[in-house]
């Protein structure tokens, strides 16, 4: 019974990682690629590690795995935010069917600071 639950967790995690890598290969845009890879990989690896902890059934292994999962959930979005920020700053092209870019003109060109408003947009100020 425990083996079956562990196996289900492992298979779900594998499918998540597989879908994430398909998204990384086939998405048309750096931002969409980053979204697919981050979400899929975090939940996939978390599910696989939980499956391992259920399979062995030891308390210290469960604590260890919980630490790894909390670390992943805390750090993977931070890395994705850094990558999305730098790719918006250096001006990578978006997909041509993207309708709105909320960050357009809100980063300072010289100091890379976040201004919070668009200096060129006269209608809002």
């Amino acid at each position: 019974m425990e083996n079956l639950v562990a196996l289900i967790f492992l298979v779900i995690g594998t499918l998540f990682i597989f879908i994430a890598s398909i998204g990384l290969l086939k998405m048309p845009d750096i931002y969409l690629r980053m979204s697919a890879s981050t979400i899929g990989a975090t939940f996939g690896v978390s599910s696989m590690l939980l499956g391992v902890a259920i399979y062995f059934g030891q308390m210290n292994l469960l604590l260890h795995v919980t630490g790894v999962i909390i670390f992943l959930i805390l750090t993977v979005p931070v890395g994705a935010h850094m990558m999305g920020r730098i790719s918006h700053i250096i001006g990578l092209k978006m997909w041509d069917k993207t309708v709105v870019d909320d960050l357009k003109g809100k980063y300072n060109e010289e100091t890379h600071g976040f201004e919070g408003y668009d200096k060129d947009d006269e209608s809002k100020s």
């Binding site: 990384l24 790894v68 250096i90």
Partner: protein, 93 residues
């Protein structure tokens, strides 16, 4: 429905296939940030392969690697983006 058979015939081939696709993106990626994203995901898929291998060989010690790999993935991503931003920053006009 043996767990070792499922790992050998389903989980490890799927993970290897996803690693192959990530490698294609790593070599093809149009910009440098694509390659950084691919490297990040590559390390995370390696954690998945290690955990499946730990179940296959019944050894708990392999799980210890996952924490170190997660740490290395996070630090390399942060360092790469930080210095790539420094390189593109134009302070002196």
């Amino acid at each position: 429905m043996n767990i070792a058979n499922v790992i050998i015939y389903f989980i490890l081939p799927m993970l290897s296939l996803s690693m192959l696709m990530i490698f294609i993106r790593l070599f093809k990626g149009p910009s440098l940030i694509d390659k950084v994203v691919a490297l990040d995901l590559l390390v995370i898929v390696a954690i998945g392969i290690f955990s499946a291998y730990a179940v296959l060989t019944e050894s708990v010690v392999i799980i210890d690697i996952s924490l170190i790999l997660a740490l290395i993935a996070f630090l390399s991503t942060i360092a790469f983006t930080y210095y790539y931003e420094k390189r593109n920053k134009n302070i002196n006009g």
